[in-house]
């Protein structure tokens, strides 16, 4: 008993030393997903030593993996690995094999291909080595045509589908949380910042916000607070409205076809811009904003559908996406309002900024309307 206790305690003493010795690389596999116009290719690199732990590749148990052993085991390697990787919408078939040496040992390289055409970041389900090593990860680099490379960590012990962090830009890999946590938040921010039609609509509403309507026409406000409250009102109305329809559409309670929504969004821009030049709305702008916001909400929901929200965390992902939208919107509103407030006293503000801006918005809105109804491409975005 005493001797055993001493051994135990010695073990504990040795643990102190763990900190220093630990620094080797953990087990990773590497996935390179290239989405082309005709199909998708995947290159998957898996460490042979990890495969040996699962499949006993080293048949003669001498601690050395020979080419003969690896070659014989290759069908087993494919049979083991392939069912543990799923890219949504893509049936992967092996097209080639190779070996390569990395710093931490030799890797089996599997070339896979599928006819699927990926338009947005795919959901990757990954469970390699789940029963062997829960600290194993898949490091996936996903390259979609014309988009920045995105990096995602795939955690096999989570089991479920991991949305790839399509929003993560190549410049900030350290901000990519494991398995795309908060990925939908970023997706939301990205969508509003790069969703030019929503931004333009917001801009149209904000342009006159540093002015007030008098019988003589638009006049600059005296104090910032006079501009802030109308802005808060308009932004809140837009937010509440698009949250309602986004929620309804996401829960599949209401559904409107994109062929109606997309042109309708263009119309909201045209009307909002027109109202800046000639008052056309019989009701306060807040009310109009609310109704138009309902339409934009359906537009957001369309994107949400493409993102393939995991059913298990549906509500959470939806909330994240919406919070992301609001954050992005807040950034735009704060910057634009501050800028416009500084410019409001300029003699040409009303003429150039409000009028000119509104005419430009009307023009863009018209072009979008034509594009979206006639299904032609007139603009680069």
């Amino acid at each position: 008993m005493k001797a055993q206790l001493v051994r135990w305690l010695l073990g504990a003493a040795l643990l102190v030393f763990g900190g220093l010795a630990q620094a080797h690389k953990a087990s990773d596999s590497y996935l390179q997903v290239d989405a082309g116009a005709k199909g998708t290719t995947v290159r998957w690199d898996i460490a042979l030593r990890d495969l040996d732990a699962a499949l006993d590749i080293d048949t003669n148990e001498d601690g050395k993996l020979t080419w003969g052993e690896v070659k014989t085991a290759w069908p087993r390697i494919e049979a083991y690995a392939l069912p543990r990787l799923k890219i949504e919408g893509c049936a992967l078939r092996p097209t080639g094999q190779a070996l390569e040496r990395r710093n931490d040992g030799a890797y089996a390289v599997m070339m896979l291909a599928s006819d699927c055409v990926l338009k947005s970041a795919p959901v990757i389900t990954y469970s390699l080595f789940r029963e062997i090593d829960p600290t194993h990860r898949g490091i996936a680099k996903v390259q979609l045509a014309g988009q920045p490379l995105s990096l995602t960590m795939l955690d096999p012990s989570r089991g479920g589908a991991a949305p790839t962090a399509g929003a993560a830009s190549a410049g900030a890999p350290e901000h990519i949380a494991p398995s795309g946590a908060l990925g939908f938040l970023r997706e939301g921010i990205r969508h509003i910042l790069t969703g030019y039609d929503h931004v333009l609509f917001l801009l149209c509403l904000l342009l006159p916000s540093v002015m007030r309507r008098t019988p003589q026409g638009w006049r600059p406000v005296e104090k910032l607070s006079q501009a802030v409250w109308p802005v808060v009102g308009i932004v809140s109305a837009f937010t509440v409205a698009h949250s309602i329809t986004l929620g309804l559409a996401a829960l599949k309670l209401v559904s409107l076809p994109p062929s109606f929504i997309e042109p309708a969004i263009a119309v909201t821009i045209i009307l909002a811009a027109l109202d800046n030049v000639w008052p056309i709305f019989p009701v306060p702008r807040v009310v109009v904003t609310f109704f138009f916001g309902l339409i934009h909400g359906f537009g957001f929901a369309g994107v949400l559908g493409e993102l393939n929200l995991p059913p298990a965390q549906f509500a959470w992902a939806l909330l994240e996406f919406n919070v992301g939208l609001e954050l992005g919107q807040l950034m735009i509103v704060v910057c634009v309002t501050a800028l416009l407030f500084m410019l409001r006293e300029r003699t040409h503000y009303r003429g150039w900024v409000v009028r000119g801006g509104s005419y430009a918005a009307i023009l863009v809105g018209m072009l979008w309307l034509i594009e979206r109804t006639a299904n032609v491409s007139l603009m680069p975005f």
């Binding site: 010695l10 073990g11 220093l20 620094a23 993996l65």
Partner: protein, 396 residues
């Protein structure tokens, strides 16, 4: 104005890091991967890591475990083998495999005591210190026999986190649980960290006077003594203690520790000689790269290149800096002389790991950066923890 230039330089360094990351990402997979074109069936493609004991036996146990995954005794035996291997080779893959052996037990409330203790130990190895402490506290809250091992591990975890008062409490429980020698050494270690060097030295010396202790225990105590003298700035006494510890039990940890001491003492050639026959774990390779650079040794270039490649590979995991922050900071500082990067890494590292070496690296990076705020931060953190270390004092 100075504050402004500091901000500007930080922004610039962040931008550089981001740029570097972008470049790394843009490279298709890792550039370090080279194709293998085997020419015959007998060609050895890869050599598997050494196993503790017999390879066939290890496999037999693993197979048996697949058939009876809820056999706790078997699962623990397998987990312990893997953990030993992780320690011997400095390879965290084995800690992950040990984790999988105890994976069938998911429910904290019904998990057997030994499984819970193993999980805490593995969490500690994987630097999940908070999770490890939580597992241990859960175990210690259970009724049953005294648990000296769990208390001692908890004392260690709290010490690594820089929470000395909580470590003391756990050390005292080791004594209550009936393991006097370990309890005394545990308390003396904390005394020494707080700068009560004389009392700590007296305790270690008294414990070592008992010649019935096995060599491994005596080596462990002697290494503690050497570290105490090293922190107190008594180079000669530290040197003697390191030598004595290595004579008792030449383990990898003591060799590394001694190498760090030699590098500090500006004796890089001896550090190189010390480590050249050790297995090239990341920790060993890092010291080889640092000492080689300082000694202008012919081996330096290839060691530095290999270490740089390993860091790049590890960093493909976005959270790698959490686990390798200390080593990466040391590399940035001693090999690349990149103070700003080292400071960033050292700051991230002390968020979880606060052993004297972590604080020392932070202090060195702060000093090298010349940033008053960073020096102030290192000073404040050292003070908050209560660490007294003459090496740190000398540079802050």
């Amino acid at each position: 104005m100075r504050a402004l230039s500091r901000v500007a330089s930080r922004v610039a360094s962040r931008a550089l890091v981001a740029l570097a990351c972008a470049t790394a990402l843009a490279t298709p997979l890792s550039s370090s991967a080279t194709p293998i074109a085997p020419t015959s069936d007998d060609e050895v493609i890869d050599v598997l890591p050494a196993v503790t004991g017999d390879r066939a036996e290890a496999r037999r146990l693993r197979k048996q475990l697949t058939q009876t995954p809820r056999d706790a005794a078997l699962a623990l035996a397998v987990a312990r083998r893997y953990l030993d291997q992780a320690h011997e080779l400095g390879d965290p893959r084995f800690a992950g495999m040990a984790m999988s052996a105890i994976d069938p037990w998911r429910d904290d409330a019904t998990m057997p005591d030994d499984v819970l203790l193993m999980r805490a130990t593995l969490q500690q190895y994987l630097h999940e210190f908070d999770a490890s402490a939580a597992s241990l506290q859960r175990l210690l809250a259970r009724p049953g026999l005294p648990r000296p091992q769990a208390w001692l591990t908890l004392a260690t975890v709290r010490r690594v986190q820089g929470r000395y008062a909580e470590s003391d409490t756990a050390c005292r429980q080791v004594a209550t649980a009936g393991a006097a020698l370990h309890a005394n050494a545990c308390l003396a270690e904390n005394l020494a960290l707080r700068g009560d060097v004389d009392r700590a030295r007296a305790t270690f010396t008294a414990l070592l006077a008992d010649s019935r202790q096995p060599p491994a225990t005596r080596a462990w105590l002697t290494t503690s003594l050497a570290e105490l003298e090293q922190r107190a700035g008594h180079a000669q006494a530290a040197e003697a203690a390191f030598q004595a510890a290595l004579k008792l039990d030449p383990d990898a940890y003591t060799a590394l520790d001694y190498a760090d001491f030699l590098i500090e003492q500006k004796r890089p050639a001896q550090a190189l000689a010390m480590l050249k026959d050790q297995p090239r774990s990341d920790a060993v390779l890092l010291r080889l790269a640092i000492a080689g650079t300082q000694a202008k040794a012919p081996s330096a270039a290839s060691d530095v290149a290999e270490m740089r490649e390993r860091i790049a590979l590890a960093n493909e995991r976005p959270d790698a800096k959490l686990f390798h922050g200390r080593e990466q900071a040391m590399f940035a500082l001693a090999v690349d002389a990149d103070a700003a990067k080292a400071l960033d890494l050292a700051r991230g590292n002390v968020a979880q790991q606060r052993e004297p070496l972590d604080l020392f690296v932070l202090a060195q990076a702060a000093r090298a950066s010349g940033q008053a705020a960073a020096i102030e931060q290192a000073k404040r953190l050292t003070g908050e923890i209560g660490l007294v270390d003459q090496r740190i004092k000398a540079i802050l």
